[in-house]
């Protein structure tokens, strides 16, 4: 970790610091929170301006905007991490299977994966979530988003596998009597880790974006405070018309900062890997 920090560029460092700051502060603050449920209406007076007690004021529904934002950020990150985990794990297993079994199985598996890559995800996500009428809880929502998160990593892992299979050190391992499973675990997985990490971060970003898009359509988890839902609730209560910029603006700014930081982290990390390999 120290080595990465030392050798990676400024882009990586800024990205890492901002992302870590947002993630850690939201997790720690939500753990430390002792007040009433932040979603409850009329917990405070409505439309208060920013003050020491309410750093971002209160909403037109009488909720504390700051704490709403903290919980929304944590929940959005949580959805992103769950979806990215599903996508990465399934994708790596799928890609490894296709790459090592080969032949007709590989071809069929790749046609399916390619279809999932090109199939337009948003319309299908709309269909699935619309059927549930926006009443999904976090786990099914993450599963539904996960349906479109595995195909890209699967394709990539398979490509890596195919090129690895012919490498000398894999052949050496095979001739020295190592089983296929052992080769995968000891030789290939470590090689995949750097790539999987970059893919994971990217999947977090994509999943948070998709969840917020669904939220704007009123199709995300209806009661879950997430960044997208927070924007949507503010829009539904005409916060833009009423110029309640703190309420509608704070989740917008948070999403922008989070996404730019994550993207800098990802591209900075990828540059670092490329440099390390001497590409």
């Amino acid at each position: 970790m120290k080595k990465v920090w030392k050798h990676a560029g400024a882009r990586f460092r800024i990205g890492l610091v901002v992302t870590a700051l947002l993630a850690l502060s939201s997790v720690i603050l939500t753990l430390a929170y002792t007040g009433t449920d932040i979603s409850i209406y009329n917990s405070f007076r409505k439309n208060l301006p920013a003050s020491w007690q309410h750093p971002l004021g209160t909403t037109a529904l009488g909720q504390d905007t700051f704490w709403m934002l903290v919980f929304s950020l944590r929940n959005s990150l949580m959805i992103g991490v769950i979806v990215a985990t599903i996508g990465t794990v399934v994708g790596v297993l799928y890609g490894l299977t296709a790459g090592f079994v080969g032949g007709a199985v590989d071809r069929v598996m790749m046609v399916v994966a390619d279809t999932f890559i090109v199939i337009p995800s948003l319309p299908i996500l709309i269909l699935m979530t619309a059927l549930m009428g926006g009443s999904m809880s976090v786990a099914p929502l993450a599963l539904v988003l996960g349906i479109f998160a595995w195909a890209h990593p699967a394709r990539h892992v398979r490509a890596i596998c195919l090129s690895m299979r012919e490498r000398d050190f894999i052949q050496t391992a095979r001739f020295s009597g190592e089983g296929l499973f052992q080769i995968i675990v000891t030789e290939i997985l470590p090689y995949l880790m750097t790539w999987a990490l970059s893919n994971f971060m990217n999947a977090v970003l994509v999943a948070i974006g998709q969840e917020s898009s669904l939220a704007v359509l009123g199709l995300s988890s209806a009661k879950l405070p997430s960044l997208g839902n927070m924007i949507q609730w503010a829009r539904n209560r005409n916060a833009i018309m009423a110029r309640q910029w703190l309420w509608v603006g704070s989740p917008i700014v948070t999403i922008i900062v989070l996404f730019v930081a994550l993207f800098m982290l990802i591209t900075g990390y990828n540059n670092f890997i490329a440099k390390k390999r001497g590409v």
């Binding site: 882009r11 046609v111 399916v112 390619d114 279809t115 890559i117 090109v118 199939i119 337009p120 995800s121 948003l122 319309p123 299908i124 709309i126 269909l127 699935m128 619309a130 059927l131 549930m132 009428g133 970003l205 974006g209 917020s212 898009s213 704007v216 359509l217 009123g218 199709l219 924007i231 833009i240 110029r243 910029w245 509608v248 603006g249 917008i252 999403i255 922008i256 996404f259 730019v260 994550l262 993207f263 800098m264 591209t267």
Partner: protein
Amino acid sequence: MRRVRFGKYLAGRLLSWFMVIFIGITFMFFIPRFFPADPVEGMIAKILSMTSLPEDQVVYIRESLRMQYGLQGTLWQQYLGFLKGAVRLDFGPSLMNFPTDASSIVMRYLPYTVGLSLVTTVVAWTLGNLIGMLAGFRKNKKSSVVLEYIAIFIYPIPYFILALVVQILFCFVWRIFPLTATIVLNQGAARFWETLLRSSILPACTMVVVGFGWWVISMKAMSENTAEEEYVRFARLRGIREGKIATSYVFRNSIIPQVSGLSISLGGVFGGALMTEIIFQYPGVGQLVQKAITQADYNMIMATVSISIVSISTATLAADLIYPLIDPRIRFQ
């Protein structure tokens, strides 16, 4: 030889076009049947919440809804019926505009979305690749570093977030544009085009700005790598002008993957168009699907989603057929 190669390419692309639509439609058939939510009972609950009906009428409504939703017979019969309907783009009547056919309503809205996506994609792709090419070719100039950073800052922002920011700035803070798009259909062609253009400016600008970042970033990386190839150095040693090296050597070679990237990006652009339309109240498929969701118009959602899948995969196929035109390795003959 070449003819065979292109034939193979075309066959592969046609197969994948067909597979995407087939798997997509199959998905759409099975998803509602495996989800715990029942659209028929949902509709009945909605009707009963508005008026009270005697039990025999509820039974009658349930039967007719099941028929309209294609829920009669065995699963296999339902599936065949659904596929047959999908081929004719028949998804039953829209419930919010009963008895108009759902897909004919989608077809009325579709040109706006397709037009918006198409124009903005072409503009974003051209602009992004030109900027990326310049930034990559003169990689150490200050301007190209600035350009790349602007692209990195804008690219990861989702469409609807940028749309919201643009809307807040231009419709509320500076009040340059009206809040909702109104397109006048019944006062002649000139008035139609004028209102169409005026309501398209903000959505189109948003989509171009979000869309072009990726092309800048990828084209910069691509042309940077190409500029270091041996044949570029050789061309330089032969005394070929820098301008010619930029266009015929670097650009020509680094644009190839950008064209295949174009076809991959179309699905995302369409999704982005839906979200942008919803924010700006632009009368496209996005607005239609939002209305259908709020009114629980199940047939309409099915029609919108299916027609979206068909149009995106067809557009992808079209973009893939440009590819052989510029890549000499898979050439038309």
